[in-house]
Amino acid sequence: MPGAAGYGMLGGVMPVEATAVRADPVVDAYKAGIDVTLIERNLRLTPEERLRQLMVLQRLADEVRRAGGVTPPGR
């Protein structure tokens, strides 16, 4: 588990194992459409803060679905 012990000192950034992953042009094409600023913002949060943020987003998505007459998933 490389780097795990040092996680708490990295300000919310998780260690990345040194595993080489082959390049995939399709995956690379998707990268152009991803908002990196959101990633950078999330990396400044702790993992627990990221999950709390996800729950807030879920609540918002549920409200929007209800407003549109759609039953939220998992109900």
């Binding site: 260690p15 990345v16 459409g33 987003l57």
Partner: protein, 162 residues
């Protein structure tokens, strides 16, 4: 909304051995994508199955998507007889998986996980590289954008560490 805190606290309180995988693991690593369910891979030994059943029982698990009235009992016998359970609970959906494609079982995944403190519970979360390898191995078209984001997270994290 899925109450991840309630689910993780319950699993932790019973000492269930599990690894968080899937969308919540991606969120824990920094993903901005919306996901609805908690995916865990649990150890299949009898004691852990007993703990898993006890942890989730208060949330009245039922097979997700199954027609109402279908006989389903969430107990150790059911979990021993099955492997992967996609469940709805009173606090939201959870997938309790004995094994995942391109990832294997708990023992395989635990070695490639990191330990996180979430909601006062210490739990294992699949490592970022292992998550990418898993998503690539599954090979679903819908995961291509997920993989792209995870790779960007890995690159950003690497930059931030200097």
């Amino acid at each position: 909304m899925t109450d991840f805190e309630a689910l993780l606290r319950a699993l932790g309180a019973e000492g269930v051995r599990f690894v968080v995988v899937g969308g919540v693991a991606a969120t824990a690593h920094g993903s901005a994508r919306l996901t609805n369910d908690l995916d865990i891979v649990y150890a299949r030994d009898p004691e852990n199955i007993r703990r898993l059943v006890k942890a989730l029982t208060p949330f009245r698990p039922y097979l997700r998507g199954a027609p109402p009235g279908l006989p389903f009992t969430w107990d150790t016998r059911t979990v021993h007889a099955g492997l992967n359970f996609t469940l709805d609970t009173t606090v939201g959906p959870i997938d309790a998986l004995g094994e995942i494609v391109a990832g294997g079982r708990y023992e395989d995944l635990a070695a490639r996980s990191i330990r996180l403190e979430l909601f006062g519970t210490s739990c294992l979360c699949l490592g970022l590289d292992a998550l990418i390898v898993n998503k690539r191995g599954v090979g679903r078209p819908k995961d291509l954008e997920v993989i792209a984001e995870l790779e960007l997270i890995a690159a950003a994290a690497k930059r931030e560490r200097g």
